[in-house]
Symmetry: C2
Subunit: 584 residues, 2 copies
Amino acid sequence: MGTCGIPGPVGDGQRSAALLREWAHRHGPTLDRARETLRTRAHWSPYPEDADGYGPGAAAAAKTALAALRGQVFHLGQPGQDGLIGPAPAEGGERSPYGPDLEIAYPHHDPDAVLGAMRRAMPRWREAGVTARAAVCVEILARINAASHEFALAAEHTSGHNPVMAFHAGAVHAQDRGLEAVAQAVEEQTRLPSSFVWRKPMPDGEDFALEKTFTLRPRGVSFLIGNSVFPTWNGYPGLFASLATGNPVLIKPHPRAVLPLALTVRTVRQVLSEAGFDPDLVCLAVERPGEELARRLAVHSDVRIVDYSGTTGFGDWLRRNATQARVFTSTSAVNSLLIESTDDYRGMLANLAFGLALYSGQLCTSPQNLLIPRDGVATDEGHKSFGRVVADLDDTLGTLLADPADAVSVLGALLSPEVLARVDKAASGALGTVAVAPRPVVHPDHPDAVVRTPAVVVLDAARPGDLATLSTEWLGPVYFAVAVDSAAAGTELLARTAREHGSLSAGAWTVSPEAQAALEEACSEAGVMLSFNLMGHWYITQSAVYSDLHGTGMNPAADAVYCDSAFVTGRFHAVGVRRHRAMS
Amino acid sequence: MGTCGIPGPVGDGQRSAALLREWAHRHGPTLDRARETLRTRAHWSPYPEDADGYGPGAAAAAKTALAALRGQVFHLGQPGQDGLIGPAPAEGGERSPYGPDLEIAYPHHDPDAVLGAMRRAMPRWREAGVTARAAVCVEILARINAASHEFALAAEHTSGHNPVMAFHAGAVHAQDRGLEAVAQAVEEQTRLPSSFVWRKPMPDGEDFALEKTFTLRPRGVSFLIGNSVFPTWNGYPGLFASLATGNPVLIKPHPRAVLPLALTVRTVRQVLSEAGFDPDLVCLAVERPGEELARRLAVHSDVRIVDYSGTTGFGDWLRRNATQARVFTSTSAVNSLLIESTDDYRGMLANLAFGLALYSGQLCTSPQNLLIPRDGVATDEGHKSFGRVVADLDDTLGTLLADPADAVSVLGALLSPEVLARVDKAASGALGTVAVAPRPVVHPDHPDAVVRTPAVVVLDAARPGDLATLSTEWLGPVYFAVAVDSAAAGTELLARTAREHGSLSAGAWTVSPEAQAALEEACSEAGVMLSFNLMGHWYITQSAVYSDLHGTGMNPAADAVYCDSAFVTGRFHAVGVRRHRAMS
């Protein structure tokens, strides 16, 4: 096998300093605009969502670039290499949910050698200061943005995203999340004056004076544990928040989704080197099958920050065991929406069907439980019974996903055998009556991909067994149409599920001011973002970077909020120095 | 026994609304100035430090007011009374460190009845909004400020403060800490817009729009565990941060220092009632001897925030067990200062002696370990040997504390038999050679008060036994003159002690730029505030509210910082609501 790596540090101090100045100048307005947008919460992004806007040859070039990785070792120039992971799946290599093995091998490193190098790299980065670090971070994001087609392809072939989802959540929106974290980090790091004179008038009329400084001190090595679903979107907030506040970052990718974070680390190391910093500030720790590296590294005394998105079980373990670190977690969510009434029945069905189909329900914000009063729903087309609503949803899904080429542009490939097992279980009738049967879809370009349309199973909130079923996260295209006694009962169930099992996004279709007020109160109390009467181009699954907060910290789904001040202030500290100044 | 209570809620809606408007108008400029000062970190306070500035009869009136409490039950009108605490010390009553029993009885309440009332009081307070809550908080602080002489007397006769310390740390500086927390709470609660329209241009040229709101949601009941040393100064940050962010606050005072917090709660409840809020938002939970109420309530499912200042042992217990709550702790500290060189030897000795004498070393910022190179110190009066420096310190302390009336105006009464036992142990020579022997001082006005001048014991950093001694907190007038090999060795020891055992304030006298640079780096790394070459009117023990940060969150002494953004952002959450808006 050959190697595909990056050059070592440039080592030309003058050139690096000039580059830093240039980046600070070039990216200053972007950063200012991002900080301003965090205040206004308006729509904005420096990273175009339209894939065609990246030049006519960009998509083809990305394909060529990723094809060139096949059969190679993805070298990053990190210290302490002691083996190889992959390329065969049995040796830890990745296989695309769309079929082929990626055939990329990754070096394995001795974690202690890597951590030692990271510690050594830290002082220079810390002393570079807020502005220089932010400039480097925004330059990294600009390079990643320029390679968005590459990142999108990597997202498709690791997480099973469809092309649009991959270009958005896998590339540009992840970049937005990163920039948002950099902007918030700059905001928080510039709140204290770095030096000032404190004068206190004394009873004798003279001023007593102290010269004071505040020094910001990063906590230490930040450990990012990637997931398989959105490794960049869920990973960039912690990566850039830690990096911008002066901490080195060690990234352990999910074994099924290494490539997106390997491409990220390659870019980060390249930019750090060009700017004259030690690239070992950011390292990748790919693990051997069964190595359980996350469990070992999360409790390492050098690790002072942990970012994790994944299962509730491991999140709880981290909070109990990684007590030497500040831990930020985003874990399982059981999201609900209530269908009470609507003045646009067709619009509601269309929006709902698209939301269920999107990426085959594999988002942490997918609305698993559809709560519908057993007496039915008032609509602009008259009263609709519970059964009628579910049947119309079936029809709407059928139309939306009738053509395989259209269907695979909305759905995603199922990212693991576990997801497929859940769909099969729902389809078997074991959970309840199957109201919408999942269908296999043959992908026109990837015949080996496992693609399924959504399954909707009917449950009844009055049955304890059904309550247990809907209270568990069923990641994937498994949805429950749940009969509830009333809108009030549905609101109560939605809030209870969020409070007890965690939730990141709740929705409702209702024209009733009373039902809206009750839902607002319940979601405020349970700490879950609520969307009313979504139509057209926006879905309950979506979180607008710079505008929406992702998570609230109030229910078990997440104690990390993208991106509030607490998400960055926990990553650094301020230390004061006071000096006596002779009276003048 | 009679009763001294407060009237019930006023219940006149119109009058309450007018009062709230008036307070918001009157206190707006104070709050704006406090917020501005948190940015500039300049000297400022709305609460005059000069006790004489509170009117000619204020001190006498305070004495009369507190005398009137003798033989009374301190009723606060809380629900669920189920017994009495005190007035005899054997029944849980307080005894002044200056001698007399306070002879005040406090009602005991069923905690569940109190928590139930607090939960019911919460919605109205939450919905009052940021401005109204802040206005009420500043009005409370204004009333407390007007009664500063009363609070100072209470601090003397519970914590053993001398009159000046009591007026400052027990009254006005505690009020400053409270206002600082309110200002920071307003700052953080006004960072998100409460409502706005988010517009995204669509490819068809139309704008897609969502109406969005953010609702701030307080976490829930806040539980404040008071200490015996500075119940108001350490208590007001948490009390006012929680109250200003919408949370009810349950206060469990230290059994030896109930009165300062009882007076506080009385004022808070009075102001809340006048403003038309349920006074049960803030309740006092006095405990029976041996009841261990803190252990029980800190893990109560209703309790969502815990503020604690006290021992490291109980702080660790809280962090491990009160996992349902956000826990803010400030625990034991082992503070050091290094004496390397000075250009004002006499000024240094005077500043140091005063810092050691102040409140008999019972501050969490008292400098326990005086690190002195064994080869001595360069000064403007020539080289001084280790022994000479210690002997000169003895002389300076002797002069400062020669006259009993002068001495008791700087020292404090020892607040517990445990403190006295530490002084006696130091005096016995069991810890090391006694270089400065502690002397009993007969208080001219309080002959029963236990007052001691500082003890200084000589230790050697090269002896493991001595290292163990200096690595423990010896709260009280017990100091160690520690021989170190060099300034560098002292710096290393200072940082190691801070890192491993916690420290809130470090100091140094040195004119060497190299030694200063090394100390700055070491203290930045260990996370401890550092003061250089203090002379005259400022001491290592002092923390200037609105200017200095108290604690860094980086070493075991404190994970709460008075008052950074994290101290308030952990007390509330933001929940978004998004509403579809028809295209226009």
